[in-house]
């Protein structure tokens, strides 16, 4: 029997039991759609993070205290206090490949104005910070180097702080808010950046001179990090070398002593973020793939029932000349037909869900083309894999017994 005839026979069999075929397809449809949706969310998130990070400045460099933590080794708390004022000053004096520098001290807490309060984070920075992170002051002005020297009680705030404490669109300039009971006079309001792709409100910030935050709020003598910008993105690596040399000298690190700080470029951050995203996506896809496994078992179950039900038909086909191999192929094609049809429907559902439903929930999504090919291939494999046992069961039947079967 040629393959075309076999296909015809299998299509007829699948079509003549529409309800059952559809139900066994359902698992595959859901599984494939889930895989595609997960992949599209993963891919979409990666793309949007990438966009976001690049708008934050692709030449951004971040110096953190402590050795490289990517190995996951826990470090002594004192190791996290290695970035000091002297480091900042030395960088400012010697920098060649670095343009702007801001030491950073952060503190989370409650901010109060009158009867209103909200939770926020205060960032202690230098005035150059706004350029490094590409913040724009919409109203008023940024604080000055002078304010830094005097540890002045001034701050620039994000739109959310204004809305929460003064009401939407209210004039906040000149008003005094309290952060951890320290009064801060608002000198500027930042242009809104909105939510980032992690769902974090980027406008819920207070930026004050680092000296103010260090002395008056956090009461610490070290920085939590130093952010800089390299002259260009291409010179990031050179800038990192330069900074490393300055800091090693300043920290009196000799020979092969390990760095007690870590410098990461934005490019590296992007790579880390996207590999984190990949891991998250992988976990989600594996979970969805398990549903495909279950769906495959469902198909096997239906096919076993179908083979038993059609024992007489199998006996007849054998009696008129079908070999075991041909019978086996017939049922294999049938199960592949079910899984592939389910897969195609699943791809359709998954793509339309990624195109319309996911964005409606405010999530980024972008279906990677290869996920469609892979899904299709996986469905063919599922059909063969889970159709094999039922097909063998059919092929091994004895025609005499099969034809007598009632």
């Amino acid at each position: 029997m040629n393959l075309l005839n076999l296909f015809k026979v299998s299509i007829t069999a699948v079509a003549s039991n529409k309800m059952r075929s559809f139900l066994s397809m359902l698992g595959i449809i859901i599984g494939v759609a889930a895989v595609i949706i997960m992949m599209s969310i993963g891919q979409g998130s990666k793309e949007s993070i990438r966009k976001e990070l690049s708008t934050m400045g692709t030449n951004l460099l971040t110096i953190r205290p402590g050795a490289d933590m990517r190995g996951g080794v826990r470090q002594d708390p004192s190791a996290m206090q290695t970035l000091k004022m002297a480091d900042y000053q030395r960088i400012m004096q010697e920098k060649k490949y670095v343009t702007k520098v801001s030491p950073e001290v952060t503190s989370a807490g409650q901010v109060i104005y009158g009867n209103n309060n909200t939770n926020s984070t205060i960032y202690g920075e230098s005035p150059e910070y706004l350029d490094i992170k590409q913040w724009v002051v919409e109203e008023g002005d940024c604080f000055t180097e002078e304010d830094v020297k005097k540890a002045a009680k001034v701050a620039v705030v994000g739109k959310t702080i204004v809305t929460e404490l003064f009401g939407e669109g209210a004039d906040a300039i000149g008003k005094t808010i309290r952060f951890k009971s320290i009064p801060l006079r608002i000198v500027g309001v930042l242009k809104s950046k909105g939510y980032n792709s992690w769902g974090m409100d980027q406008d819920n910030v207070i930026i004050a001179p680092y000296s103010t935050v260090m002395k008056r709020i956090a009461a610490q003598t070290f920085f939590s990090s130093i952010v800089c910008s390299a002259i260009t993105e291409d010179l990031s690596d050179t800038a990192i070398e330069e900074l490393t040399q300055i800091l090693r000298e300043n920290h009196k690190l000799k020979g092969d002593a390990a760095d007690d700080f870590t410098i990461r470029s934005q490019a590296e951050m992007m790579a880390t973020m996207s590999s984190t995203m990949d891991t998250v996506t992988l976990i989600l896809v594996v979970a969805a793939a398990f549903s495909l496994l279950v769906a495959g078992i469902g198909i096997m179950n239906i096919m076993l029932v179908s083979v038993t039900e059609r024992t007489k038909e199998i006996g007849l086909r054998m009696a008129v000349g079908a070999t075991g191999a041909v019978i086996s192929l017939q049922f294999l094609i049938e199960s592949v037909l079910i899984s592939v049809t389910g897969g195609l429907l699943g791809i359709l559902v998954g793509c339309s869900a990624s195109g319309f439903l996911v964005p409606a929930f405010g999530m980024p999504s972008s279906v990677p083309a290869w996920s469609i090919y892979v899904s299709f291939l996986v469905c063919v494999c599922i059909g063969i894999l889970f159709g094999y046992i039922p097909a063998q069961k059919a092929a091994r039947m004895d025609p005499i017994e099969a034809i007598r079967h009632e």
Binding site: S16, K312, G315, L316, V320, I400
Partner: protein, 252 residues
Amino acid sequence: MAEDKRKVVIELRNVKRYFQVGSETVKALRGVSFKIYEGEFVTIQGTSGSGKSTLLNQLGCLDTPTEGEYILDGISVRSMSKNQRAHLRNRKIGFVFQNYNLLAKTTAVENVELPLMYNNKYNAKQRREAAVKALQAVGLGDRLEHKSNQMSGGQMQRVAIARALVNNPAVLLADEATGNLDTRTSFEMLVLFQELYKKGHTIIFVTHNPEIAEYSSRNINLRDGKIREDTINTNIKSAAEALAALPKPQDD
């Protein structure tokens, strides 16, 4: 009949078939030998359990003998593989079963095409032509597109006979082909078999009903897995006449 010049279609030489059931051996066939010539209409008759179906399974290449030799159309079947036997059934054998065994929800012509589906020498057009011809031969030329569930028992058995004829087999094997039919329809079926016999088809018809032996050209009587009698019928009764003599149905 050693000097017989007719072509031998089937030859059995001391065929035995034993079944092992637990510790017991059931001897379904205890040494059966005969030759069947081209164009014979042979009834194999015997009581229930005498070994008729077992014998027919041997003749139809569905089973192989425990002992003995079976030669079909010049080919030794005994040492054949399963696949070779499937091929042989496809080309040389036409089966008619007691309960028709038509594919459900399938038209008459598609049912008849089935054996040719497993024969690569036929394309779709040739298959259809052969099926239509076979259906015309059994008087169902006007029922081609009827589905199996829209037909009477007699019509279904005619479709089954057409299916058995479609591959132009060396021998037509029928197992209790009239077993599920009423008297009148049974005679109609016998008329058809006699017509096929007259056209030169070789027919082996298994039945427990001794009456049917009167309409065939030769009768082999089985008992306990052995041939009790093998007689040539020189006075073949006409099934058509017997049918005409039957009391007419009420609505006729």
